[in-house]
């Protein structure tokens, strides 16, 4: 099971946090800080797995992460997940974001937080993987976007 998905930038500013188990808000913030601390001090080009921080269950859980330009994508998972599989999943997530936002960058995540959450929800639900097929995920995201646009247009027409 995936316990949490965290995205933060090179300075540790959170850009997305999604917890699939309940923690208090305080603990969630501490987990983000702790995870950033653990991940950011590691060299580039070494192994992508490490034991989880104490707050999120210590050695029971693993952090699996990838570092893209200014952003860290970190998945915290328990022992039932395949490490390499999750690494692929992160790649699928990022490639999907890249297609949806055309060359995704940190700002896109900031200004379209709701969309990022939506895309993630098409992939992962309640800590389990829902879909790994990129074109399927994008199709869904596009459909939602279309609905949104038509509603906005309708609203504009009404207000005229």
């Amino acid at each position: 099971m995936i316990k949490a998905i965290l995205i933060f930038n090179n300075h540790g500013k959170p850009r997305l946090s999604k917890f699939y188990e309940h923690y208090t808000e305080d603990t969630e913030q501490q987990i983000i800080r702790e995870t950033f601390h653990l991940v950011s001090k590691r060299d580039e080009n070494i192994c992508n797995f490490l034991e989880g921080g104490l707050l999120i269950g210590g050695s029971e859980n693993k952090l699996i992460y990838r570092h893209y330009a200014t952003l860290y994508f970190v998945f915290c998972v328990d022992s039932s997940e395949s490490e390499l599989g999750i690494l692929d999943l992160i790649q699928v997530f990022v490639e999907t974001l890249d297609k949806c936002f055309e060359n995704v960058c940190e700002l896109d995540l900031i200004f379209h937080m709701d969309k990022v959450h939506n895309i993630l929800a098409e992939m992962v639900m309640g800590g389990m993987v829902l879909e790994t097929n990129m074109s399927e995920i994008i199709t869904q995201a596009e459909a939602h976007n279309k609905m949104e646009k038509s509603e906005v247009r309708a609203a504009l027409l009404r207000s005229d």
Binding site: P14, L16, S17, H22, E25, Q29, R42, D43, N45, I46, C47, N48, F49, E51, G58, S59, E60, S80, S82, L84, G85, D88, L89, Q91, K99, C100, F101, E102, D108, I110, F111, M113, D114, K115, H117, N118, A121, M125, G126, M128, V129, L130, E131, T132, N133, M134, S135, E136, I138, A141, E142, A143, H144, N145, M147, E148, K149, E151, V152, A155
Partner: protein
Amino acid sequence: MPAVSKGDGMRGLAVFISDIRNCKSKEAEIKRINKELANIRSKFKGDKALDGYSKKKYVCKLLFIFLLGHDIDFGHMEAVNLLSSNKYTEKQIGYLFISVLVNSNSELIRLINNAIKNDLSSRNPTFMCLALHCIANVGSREMAEAFAGEIPRILVAGDTMDSVKQSAALCLLRLYKTSPDLVLMGEWTSRVVHLLNDQHMGVVTAAISLITCLSQKNPDEFKTCVSLAVSRLSRIVSSASTDLQDYTYYFVPAPWLSCKLLRLLQCYPPPEDGAVKGRLVECLETILNKAQEPPKSKKVQHSNAKNAILFEAISLIIHYDSEPNLLVRACNQLGQFLQHRETNLRYLALESMCTLASSEFSHEAVKTHIETVINALKTERDVSVRQRAADLLYAMCDRSNAKQIVAEMLSYLETADYSIREEMVLKVAILAEKYAVDYSWYVDTILNLIRIAGDYVSEEVWYRVIQIVINRDDVQGYAAKTVFEALQAPACHENMVKVGGYILGEFGNLIAGDPRSSPLVQFNLLHSKFHLCSVPTRALLLSAYIKFINLFPETKSTIQEVLRSDSQIRNSDVELQQRAVEYLKLSSIASTDVLATVLEEMPPFPERESSILAKLKKKKGPGAVSVNELEEGKREGGELNGGGERGGDSSTSAVGSTPSPSADLLGLRAGPPVTAAAPSAGSLLVDVFSEAGVNDDGFLRFVCKNNGVLFENQLLQIGIKSEYRQNLGRMYLFYGNKTSVQFVTFTTTLNVQAKPVEPLIEGGAQVQQVINIECLTDFSDAPLLNIKFRYGGALQNLTLKLPVTINKFFQPTEMASHDFFQRWKQLSLPQQEAQKIFKANHAMDTEVLKAKLLGLGMALLENVDPNPENFVCAGVIQTKAQQVGSLLRLEPNAQAQMYRLTVRSSKDTVSKRLCELLAEQF
């Protein structure tokens, strides 16, 4: 076309976010946020009704503020209102807010449930998915109560859209995890299993997580998934990379799904059906073969995906532990990966090898890689990888290579990362103790540990070395000499001073003959460290000094002078002052005889479980230990209707025991294995011998639970883990030697059958025995277990009742009030009923009672008895001969602190026995 165009979105939100990002300081940011919060609050409270768009905008702002780590304590109601909007955008943002911000015990759940109910019945797939997501995200018990019945229907209905099916499967899984009692699969089981055959790979992906979880809990009901999973896997593995279109990831067909299928298979033993097994073996071989083929792409994603499958396949092979050919190939493959240039693969290979090392078949094969692993420990750049290497060395350690491994770990400690030093120290200490052939090596190792990593040597470690030195007189002289030498170093760790003070105080006389370590030299050496030490160490040193006065009268005047000095006798620390005063007085007034008696050498320590091992277990978390034990168990117990299996060297050490061939030669085998633990048969013999010693208390504690400690005294601890399914059960007995001395000729005899356990339990070690149980018919007498062993020459004999009781074979039966009373009436013959009225032994707490009744194994039926204070339960006892339906009613009377218990079942002996067992529980 990109799915999200950058132009649209909410301007107010964008402005707010830019403002925050432009804040120069944390204070400015907080100020800006507070201003915005006040603004939103007034908007929400204002008289003017907000339109959907504004609500959405404000909720989005709140989400952003929350992400930055600020508490949000309002807006929930507005979010709930958005749920009932019929606009997608508004509904979606409402659900998003709730998923992120509402936790499972919110008071709003009822309102949210209402909105969800509407969306689930809307037949709009987008809305249905949003609602299902929300359930999965919040996953509270109230939600489970509201929707657990509905979701399986959506999942298997023929007209449900694929995307909704996917969400429904995972939603159901979430509810099952939080409230397993509310999710009743019963009639849906077979249709859910058949989702593995679904046309849509996404549905299979989602369903397999659900099926895996359900199979772990109810393996028998979901058994049919094995053959379906194998055929699905085989279709994927043999397909060309283009067959699966979008599910092909960098030329690998459906890697995620393949991994999950292989994981699902790890919930089960190898398939019994020859054809299925053949097909599976073929799949595994294909996967292993593909690893040797040249890559279809140079991209790392390609090799990742391919290897993800490969590692899962290897895990499955290790799990089966039955195909020597595949095991060898797996081990070779991992060996290759150990030297791969990809760090990730080296990491995973080290990790997999750890499990392989605990398999009896492959322990030797793993050992051949020792040089590579040591090299990894020395040269890997990444601490995660080094840690795995250290774990593997620990796992592959046995008597033959202990010296080498301990030496390597010690030298690694000098440069090891701070984060893993303490664990390394514990591991070295355990290996040194466990595999010590001569104790001088052990003493050297521990003193080296203190020298190299003194700060990380916890009390447990240095206590242990002192215990061992005191209990073994053959090593005392050597210890005194070595510690004396170690103390000569100009800077030595305080822990070394502690060990030195203690050991010289006890055994300094053993080296006093050498003029280089004469009494005065010893004393001066110790005292030279005194001023650098903390109070507890100084206190220990003072005790060592008074011991010196007894051992060496010639040091008396020097030491008395030290004690008399102001810095001792007027020390501001009460403990130190008291010791100085008392010791000084003692030394001046007591006669030599009295002094010799008071300050006699310490008696041997009582033997306990190695405190270090306990500490490592704690550090690793309970999970780590139990997982190993379970795996151990899986390998041990192959047959179902068989007998006890040989115990293995278990748990934390994860070192596979090599079975001792002498076990059978010793002739310890009890009578031939009678069918199984049908305890009515042939139990007379042992009863006669051991009636006096039968221990009853432990037994009764297990009526309502399956795991725990059955017995414990100063020498031995016996833990039990057991599981029951229908008329079969399996019990793991863990015999822990709490002493540091071996138990020899350790035998256990069960009055029905028993294969020998390991005849020797090392000090501090644990041995496991597995007993397979089949309930042939109902019974009242528990099987008896007789344990004999020699501890330090004395024969120990112990007889225990194994906590196997008839209620362990209960299958819970849910039924409605009407059915219950109908059946109750049907069981109306006087002998079918047993009743007992008894006084409460424990507080009459409803929750505790419920937990106990559930532990009993029956279904606890709510809303059946007209009196809500009463409890009624129903269940069927499964025996090979027949099934015995039983109903139970427990009526507490809080005023009188009494209970009335009534049991009715189709067999009189069962009613009677259940009544007896339960009367002691409440």
